[in-house]
C-alpha cells in the first residue's frame, strides 16, 4: 500500500480545487485522504457500530446489576432490626463491589479483564469482554444512583402498599421502583453519556471502536489533525443527540403525572 501524496492527489483533483488558495487545498487533501481514499470512512462507520454495541450492551448490564445491588442494599438497610444472614453477606459483597469498581480506574479494569481474567481472542470475544467490563463498571455507579432513587421515595408509600397486604417485593415492584426510576432518569442519562464516552478506552484491549478507527487512520496517513478533530466531533454530536432524546423522554414521563 502506498501513501497518497499531495503531489499525486493534486494532479487528479477537479478544476475547482486548483483555483482555491493553497491552505484550503491542503485541508481538502487531508479530508480526502482521511475519509474518501480507499473508502476510509468505513473505518469510522464500522468503529461507530462497535461503539454503539458496547455502549448499549454495557448500559443494559449496568442497569440490571445496578438495580439488583441497590435493591439488596436498601432492603438490607430497611430491615436492620431483623438481621438476616444471607442478606448480610449479600450486602457486604455489594459494598465491596461498589468500593472496588468505583475505586479503580476503568482503564485498569479493562487491562485486567482483557489481559488477566478473560484474555479474549477475536473480535466477538473482545467485544463481549468490553461490554462486560464496562457493564460491571457502570453497574457500580448505577447502583448508587438507583439507591438514592429508592431512598428518595417517602416511607409512607411502602407502608401504604404493605398495609393493603402487598408483600415487600410486590410493593417494591409496583409502587417504589416506578417512582424511583422516574426520579433517577436524569442521573441515569448522565451515566449513559459518560458510558458512551468511556467506551473510547476499549482501544486498550484492541477493540476496533470509533476511537481505534481514528488511530488507524492516523497511522495510515501520518496526519493527526483531521482524524482526531473529526473523532471529537463524532462524540460531541452523539452526546448532543442523546441529551436531546433524554430531555424528550423526561418530558413525556413528567406529563403522565399531570
Amino acid at each position: 500500500m502506498t501513501v497518497l501524496t499531495f503531489a499525486n492527489w493534486i494532479t487528479e483533483a477537479p478544476n475547482w480545487i486548483l483555483s482555491l488558495p493553497k491552505w484550503l487545498q491542503q485541508i481538502f487533501f487531508q479530508l480526502y485522504q482521511v475519509f474518501v481514499y480507499e473508502n476510509r470512512w468505513q473505518f469510522f462507520t464500522d468503529g461507530l457500530l462497535t461503539t454503539f454495541i458496547v455502549t448499549i450492551g454495557a448500559l443494559i448490564i449496568g442497569i440490571v446489576i445496578g438495580i439488583i445491588v441497590a435493591l439488596i442494599r436498601t432492603t438490607h438497610d430497611s430491615m436492620s432490626n431483623k438481621p438476616n444472614f444471607i442478606l448480610r453477606i449479600l450486602n457486604v459483597l455489594c459494598k465491596i463491589y461498589v468500593t472496588v469498581l468505583r475505586g479503580t480506574p476503568l482503564m485498569v479494569q479493562l487491562l485486567i479483564m482483557g489481559f488477566v481474567i478473560m484474555v479474549p481472542k477475536g473480535s466477538v470475544q473482545t467485544t463481549f469482554c468490553a461490554i462486560l467490563t464496562l457493564g460491571i463498571n457502570s453497574g457500580a455507579y448505577v447502583a448508587e444512583i438507583a439507591r438514592s432513587g429508592i431512598m428518595s421515595i417517602n416511607t409512607g408509600q411502602m407502608e401504604a402498599g404493605r398495609s393493603l397486604g402487598l408483600n415487600y417485593t410486590q410493593s417494591m415492584w409496583h409502587i417504589i421502583l416506578p417512582q424511583a426510576l422516574k426520579n433517577i432518569l436524569p442521573a441515569l442519562g448522565n451515566e449513559l453519556i459518560a458510558l458512551l464516552k468511556e467506551t473510547s478506552l476499549v482501544t486498550v484491549i484492541a477493540l476496533q471502536d470509533v476511537t481505534k478507527a481514528a488511530q488507524v487512520i492516523v497511522s495510515k496517513t501520518y496526519t493527526a489533525v483531521i482524524p482526531y478533530i473529526s473523532l471529537a466531533a463524532i462524540y460531541l454530536v452523539l452526546v448532543m443527540i442523546l441529551t436531546k432524546l433524554l430531555a424528550l423522554l423526561e418530558g413525556r414521563m413528567r406529563k403522565s403525572e399531570r
Partner: protein, 246 residues
C-alpha cells in the same frame, strides 16, 4: 375468646432503646362493629398503638390477636391478615404514579385475584359513595387534600376489610376539608364497619365513638363511652387533657 372480638392486644410494649417507652403494656379488645376512638396528648403512643395493630410497628413484646390468630408470631403470614385491616394515613400516601382508579384496583387485582373489570366495578361503586366517581381517571396530584383522603379510604375499602384503622385522618387537611372526610368516616361507622380511629377532633370523637380510649405515656389511662370520658372523666390526667382541648 368470644367470637365477636376482632382484635385483642395483650400487654403490648414498644421500646426505643432503654428509656423511651412508646407503648407500655397496652391490653384491650376491639369487638365487631365497635368504633374505638383513641385520644391523648401528642407523644402518648396512640399512633404507635394503631400502627402496631397491623404490624407497621413491631412491638417489642406482647401479643396481638386478629380474629384469634397471634399476628406477632413470626410464623404468621402478616400479609394475609393485613388484607383484612384497611389503613388510612395522615399523609394519605396515595400512589402518585397511578390514577385514582389504579390506586384502588392494584391490591384487589394482585391479592384477591379479581379481574380488571370486577376490581374497577367495585372501585367505581366506592368512589360513587364518596362523591368522586368523576375523578377516577385523575392523578392524586390533581386532587385536593380532602379528595385525596376520601380516595385513600376507598382504596382501603376495596379490599373488603374486617376493620379499618385511621391514623389521624384529618390532621394534614385544611380546616374546610375536614368535614367532608369526617362525613365519610361517619357514614362508614353507621354502616357497621369496625374501626379504630386516632384523632384530635373531639367533637367527631364524641359523635362517632362507641368507646373512647384515653392514652398517655404509652398506657391506656381511662376508657369508656363518650359521655363517660367527656362529661365525667375520672382520671386527673384525662381531665387535664380535656380541659386543654375542649
Amino acid at each position: 375468646m368470644s367470637d365477636n372480638v376482632i382484635i385483642k392486644t395483650n400487654n403490648l410494649c414498644k421500646f426505643y432503646g432503654e428509656s423511651i417507652h412508646a407503648l407500655d403494656g397496652v391490653s384491650t379488645e376491639i369487638k365487631k362493629g365497635e368504633v374505638v376512638v383513641i385520644i391523648g396528648p401528642s407523644g402518648s403512643g396512640k399512633s404507635t398503638f394503631l400502627r402496631s395493630l397491623n404490624l407497621l410497628e413491631h412491638p417489642t413484646s406482647g401479643e396481638i390477636y386478629f380474629e384469634g390468630t397471634d399476628i406477632t408470631n413470626p410464623k404468621t403470614n402478616i400479609n394475609i391478615h393485613r388484607q383484612k385491616m384497611g389503613m388510612v394515613f395522615q399523609q394519605f400516601n396515595l400512589f402518585p404514579h397511578m390514577t385514582v382508579l389504579k390506586n384502588l384496583t392494584l391490591a384487589p387485582q394482585k391479592l384477591l385475584k379479581k379481574s380488571k373489570e370486577d376490581a374497577e366495578k367495585k372501585a367505581m361503586e366506592l368512589l360513587e359513595r364518596v362523591g368522586l366517581a368523576d375523578r377516577a381517571e385523575a392523578y392524586p396530584e390533581q386532587l385536593s387534600g380532602g379528595q385525596k383522603q376520601r380516595v385513600a379510604i376507598c382504596r382501603a375499602l376495596c379490599m373488603n376489610p374486617e376493620v379499618m384503622l385511621f391514623d389521624e385522618p384529618t390532621s394534614a387537611l385544611d380546616p374546610e376539608m375536614v368535614g367532608e372526610v369526617l362525613d365519610v368516616i361517619k357514614s362508614l361507622a353507621e354502616s357497621g364497619m369496625t374501626m379504630a380511629i386516632v384523632t384530635h377532633e373531639m367533637g367527631f370523637a364524641r359523635e362517632v365513638a362507641s368507646r373512647i380510649l384515653f392514652m398517655d405515656e404509652g398506657q391506656i389511662i381511662e376508657e369508656g363511652s363518650p359521655s363517660d370520658i367527656f362529661d365525667n372523666p375520672k382520671n386527673p390526667r384525662t381531665r387535664s387533657f380535656l380541659s386543654k382541648v375542649l
